[in-house]
């Protein structure tokens, strides 16, 4: 089977996908069919939380694709995530219809009270799910295409590229903060009611979103793995390590970079779109440069250029955040900062690199 | 002068140097030879401290070299011309030379004139960035730079690689001059037999990480060459 073929030589991926599969089946069962009093019951709160983690893991995979394999340290991937999120948010806003506080069937509440008279053109069409679904991929993809087309063609690389990706997300953040942009400014888009007819407050909808996130992560992972298994993947590594040599060999480095970048941006967009209905808000803060840096940090913690490392890093750090902010609310930054420092010093190849190292060590000494 | 005994070195799991013994007599020019990939550069890197040594001893004039840190080794009198030159690309030629000055005696911290006499091209290119020089020019700069630290032992890793013939001859002459007239002990890694024969007093052959032969240069006969230096 095709899927099995893709992960044939990928132990880490096999394990990761296996665990994901088990969780995806088990968690909904434990939520729906085990009574709340039973210790095995998984509360909806946890399901949603896990769903959120999975979307972030998909985002991390997208970053690993360009950073780990192509060597592009992107400090702006949060922008693609946020754009996907906004596209979904716009759809969800339009779904509110006349159930908003002002009862305007056409305009979202924030437009009503800022006295907007009609829906801006870029909001048109978002009442249709299929349109929004296309935009979720298309908007980040097109931005990545334009950005990448300019940057890669001019051979911007290294920190220069990193910083302009950062400038891109920073500019978008500032722009989206402007109320005139028509995306709700700082308050962003909230108060979502339902998604293709399912109420977002229903447990079943939440479970559906969780399962969808898991599927998206698995599919995203397989796509990336498939790409990297191919010769294209090896060209990526070649570009990462000796870009000009690859050029002298006849590879159009800018095209390779461009397409991988675009694919990665679209994956990030999908992640954002699944994230938004689960957390219930999208706001310009998602564009903030620090967010994008954090994503890179997840990947580094998990281990670069492995893909499953990105998943592990994202889950680990985000779980740590949830845990620390509740258990150590006053000092948790010490703990999180400490983790980052220690991982770098003690596990230079991230958690997965460490595990792989352990295994190798065992094999050798055995 | 330099006495290495029972040296073992690993790259991760792979054992690269096996019980290598090497004696460099004072005042002589020893040529280290061997096929590609047998570990010549690795051995030199051990001497310079860039590679960790698993076991064995390394004494310079009776002092334990293994105890010295990398940056102390030039201070005890080792000048190093690495394979691939390793010029500081963004420093000017002059600055490349000045880098070694702090190693020199406090009252003598300027670039010795004789370096420019040996390599006039360096004086010509004084203010050009090291990285912009052609390969051959960089090689000359690398030798000049190693001389700035006033070494007793000069270590050169394939210094003729990529150098025009008359300069190769010149470098040969210079090495000889440094060796014979200025009393510098020289350890030279070289693949080109004629050149090795011309400048070397002694030879020393590595094969697959082991020390397999050594002796006076005259003793390097066709048999040895055929056995260890041809493919």
């Amino acid at each position: 089977m095709g899927v099995l073929n893709i992960v044939k030589n990928d132990r880490g991926g096999q394990i990761m996908l296996g665990v994901l599969l088990v969780i995806t089946i088990l968690v909904p069962l434990l939520n729906l069919f085990v009574p709340e009093t039973n210790p095995l019951h998984v509360p909806t709160y946890t399901v949603t939380l896990m769903g959120k983690y999975l979307t972030l893991a998909l985002l991390a995979v997208a970053v690993d694709l360009v950073w780990g394999y192509l060597g592009i340290l992107t400090l702006g991937h949060g922008a693609f995530f946020a754009l996907g999120g906004y596209a979904m948010g716009m759809y969800l806003m339009r779904q509110i219809g006349d159930r908003g506080v002002y009862g305007n069937p056409e305009l979202p509440d924030f437009m009503v009270f800022l006295d907007w008279q009609e829906l801006p053109w870029f909001w048109q069409g978002f009442d249709q799910f299929w349109f929004a679904a296309i935009m979720i991929m298309l908007v980040p993809g097109v931005l990545a295409f334009i950005f990448g087309w300019l940057a890669f063609r001019s051979r911007v690389s290294g920190v220069y590229l990193s910083i302009i990706t950062q400038a891109m997300t920073y500019a978008l953040m500032l722009a989206f903060y402007r109320n005139e942009m028509g995306f709700g400014g700082n308050n962003g888009l909230t108060d979502f009611k339902d998604l293709v007819g399912f109420s977002l407050q229903e447990d079943t909808t939440r479970i559906g979103l969780f399962v969808l996130s898991a599927v998206a992560l698995a599919v995203g992972y397989l796509i990336c793995r498939h790409l990297m298994n191919s010769r294209l993947g090896r060209v990526c590594i070649a570009v990462r390590d000796a870009e000009s040599r690859a050029r002298f060999m006849g590879y159009r480095v800018e095209n390779v970079k461009l397409w991988i970048f675009v694919i990665s941006a679209m994956l990030a967009g999908v992640a954002g779109a699944l994230y938004v209905p689960q957390v219930g808000i999208i706001n310009p803060n998602e564009f903030s440069p620090i967010n994008s840096i954090e994503i890179v940090v997840w990947v580094a913690v998990g281990g670069r250029a492995t893909l499953y490392g990105a998943v592990i890093g994202a889950l680990l750090i985000n779980y740590a955040k949830t845990y620390f902010t509740a258990e150590l609310p006053d000092v948790w930054l010490f703990a999180l900062g400490g983790i980052f420092v220690l991982v770098t010093l003690l596990l230079p190849k991230g958690v997965t690199g460490f595990v792989a190292g352990l295994k190798q060590h065992k094999e050798v000494s055995a | 002068m330099l006495k290495i005994e029972g040296l073992n070195q690993y790259y991760g799991q792979s054992h690269t140097l096996w019980d290598v013994d090497l004696h460099i007599p004072e005042g002589q020019c020893t040529v280290l030879m061997g096929r590609n990939g047998v570990g010549k550069t690795t051995l030199l890197q051990c001497i310079m401290g860039h590679q960790a040594v698993k076991s064995g001893s390394m004494m310079l004039d009776g002092a334990d070299l293994l105890k010295a840190s990398v940056e102390q080794r030039p201070r005890v009198g080792i000048g190093y011309v690495p394979q691939g030159r390793q010029i500081f690309p963004l420093l000017s030629v002059e600055e490349n030379l000045q880098v070694g000055l702090p190693v020199r005696a406090r009252n003598d911290r300027k670039i010795p004139e004789y370096i420019f006499e040996l390599f006039p091209v360096l004086a010509e290119m004084m203010h050009r960035r090291g990285g912009d020089l052609s390969g051959g020019q960089q090689q000359q700069l690398a030798i000049g730079r190693a001389l700035v630290v006033n070494p007793k032992l000069l270590i050169l890793d394939e210094p003729t690689e990529g150098i025009q013939p008359n300069v190769v001859t010149e470098i040969g002459d210079i090495i000889r001059k440094l060796n014979r007239e200025m009393g510098l002990t020289v350890l030279l890694v070289e693949q080109k037999l004629p050149f090795a024969r011309k400048v070397g007093d002694r030879f020393c052959i590595l094969d697959r990480g082991r020390h397999v032969a050594e002796g006076e240069m005259e003793a390097l006969d066709d048999k040895l060459v055929a056995q260890y230096l041809t493919v």
Binding site: L73, L150, S154, V156, S157, V159, Y160, I163, I164, Q166, A167, M168, Y170, A171, L174, A175, Y177, R178, I293, V296, V297, A300, V301, D330, V331, L333, F334, L336, G337, G338, I339, F340, V341, V343, T344, L345, P348 | M48, G49, H50, V70, E71, Q72, P74, Y80, P82, Q86, F88, P89, L90, L91, E95, V99, G100, L101, P102, R129, G131, D132, V149
Partner: protein, 498 residues
């Protein structure tokens, strides 16, 4: 409530009418809020420091020790009264000894010229010796004359006001143009007005340039430490902002330590911040970064962690609130070049300070042995060590230098903005932007990038607004990097490619 203020205000007028010799002293006390009254006997007291145990003097000079915190109450003012006091002081100031004071007094009077002031000014004019004050009085009188209907008087007044940049002159001329009867005079006034407008516009550009340079200096100061730790050493130092923050907190602590010498505290804070941030930098380098050379991307991860730790450390140590850092008197205020153009002193000092720091750093890197060693190590660590450079020491010193400079930037920023746990975050993005835009590894690039981004931002701001101006700057940077993929001052030649 406002009734009470109205009564006080009437009291002031009465006080002036009596022309009591101590009027101006009392006004001064009032505006310095040193006048108190005893809650019980309602007598007035002068209190310089309202602390129990200190003395309160009544107006006759009798002293009384403050026993309880609630015994006395300050004689409060509202803004209306402050305005009133200013005005009265201005009129009184007309006879001050200092000509500058007199000029300021006349200028204050321009705001509202009544027949009474005209008379006072005319009398003053007769005995006034200072040319500037006479000029100012002339302007005041001319403004008054614009209300007359005598053509000659009007024409002279317009001539007098021609070139005067006082806002009142302009308003008077504008008012005159809109009501003028004689077309000839109207024309004359229009020409005068045009001349003034041109001048104002010219100074407007100068002002924009000044604002831009001063914003630019802040950017340069914030970025220049990073130009060393990141630009030269290649450490993606996400904790740079926090090192700035540490410098700012050092300033705060120094002020706490020398509360009676706030004037000099800044001068002490500069070396102190350099040392404190420098030491923290050295600690970071020795503790973490030195294990990461050759793995630049991982420095991002580790220093990001360090920045979180430092932020939280400051929050735990100093509380999450902003700290108040005072501006010494010699740094506050402005140099009034003319009524439409002035230079704020604090900004001027910061521009100068930025240049001094820049030159000092340039000399260190270009002219000292340390500078050469730093560059050698950053280009080829192994080879540098083989040439006898103690790379450990060089790394620690360099990182310490960059961090110390960040600390110095913190001192400067403490004069302009928040000193709080978040301040580092506010500058880190801009700092990277400046360093990269200028060309990594090039100090000149950082200077030019910072200043030009500052000026461009200030040129854009008036017509685009602060938010859009910033967005446009970022887009500009993105597009500029397409044209010059290695910044303003790129490393050129073969060396840069290999």
């Amino acid at each position: 409530m406002s009734k009470a203020f109205d009564n006080k205000s009437r009291g002031l007028d009465l006080l002036v009418e009596t022309s009591h010799p101590r009027t101006s002293e009392i006004l001064q006390l009032l505006s310095d809020s040193q006048l108190y009254y005893h809650k019980k006997d309602k007598r007035l007291f002068i209190i310089t420091h309202y602390v129990t145990g200190k003395v309160a003097k009544d107006l006759q000079g009798n002293e009384q020790v403050i026993k309880k915190k609630r015994d006395f109450k300050k004689v409060t003012l509202n803004n209306k009264m402050r305005g009133q006091i200013n005005r009265i002081q201005a009129e009184l100031g007309l006879n001050a000894d200092n000509p500058q004071q007199r000029e300021a007094a006349v200028r204050d009077l321009l705001k509202d010229i009544t027949p009474g002031t005209v008379a006072t000014l005319k009398t003053r004019f007769l005995i006034e010796e200072s040319k500037n004050v006479r000029e100012m009085i002339n302007i005041a009188l001319a403004i008054n004359d614009l209300k007359s209907s005598d053509d000659v008087l009007l024409s002279n007044a317009i001539e007098q006001l021609d070139g005067s940049l006082e806002q009142e002159s302009r308003s008077a001329l504008v008012a005159f143009v809109s009501t003028a009867q004689s077309p000839l005079l109207k024309k004359q006034a229009q020409i005068a007005l045009k001349g003034i407008e041109d001048k104002v516009q010219y100074y407007g550009w100068l002002e924009t340039l000044y604002f831009g340079l001063s914003l630019g200096s802040v950017l340069v100061l914030a970025g220049i430490g990073l130009a060393i730790t990141f630009g030269v050493m290649g450490v993606i130092n996400m904790a740079h902002g926090e090192l700035i923050m540490i410098g700012a907190y050092t300033t705060y602590v120094i002020q706490l330590l020398m509360p009676d010498h706030i004037e000099w505290s800044i001068l002490v804070a500069i070396p102190a911040a350099f040392v404190v941030s420098g030491l923290v930098g050295i600690a970071i380098e020795r503790g973490v970064i030195r294990f990461l050379y050759g793995r630049p991307l991982e420095t991002l991860l580790a220093t990001f962690g360090i920045s979180l730790i430092l932020q939280q450390a400051v929050r735990s140590l100093f509380s999450p609130l902003n700290r108040s850092v005072e501006t010494p008197d010699w740094m506050s205020g402005l140099i009034q070049i003319n009524p439409v153009f002035s230079l704020t002193l604090s900004r001027l000092y910061i521009i100068l300070f930025c240049l001094v720091v820049f030159v000092a750093l340039l000399l260190v890197l270009k002219k000292t042995a340390l500078g050469l060693q730093v560059r050698a190590v950053s280009q080829n660590r192994a080879m540098a060590r083989s040439m006898g450079i103690r790379s450990n020491r060089v790394d620690a010193l360099t990182f310490g230098l960059g961090s110390g400079v960040a600390g110095i930037a913190g001192v400067a920023l403490s004069q302009l903005t928040n000193v709080g746990p978040n301040m580092g975050q506010a500058y880190i993005i801009d700092s990277f932007m400046v360093v990269v835009f200028g060309g990594v590894g090039n100090l000149w690039g950082t200077l030019v990038a910072g200043l030009s981004l500052g000026v461009a931002n200030k040129v854009l701001e008036p017509w685009a607004g602060a938010v859009l101006a910033k967005v446009l700057m970022l887009i500009f940077i993105i597009l500029f990097i397409q044209k010059r993929p290695r910044g303003l001052f790129p490393q050129r030649g073969r060396a840069a490619e290999g």
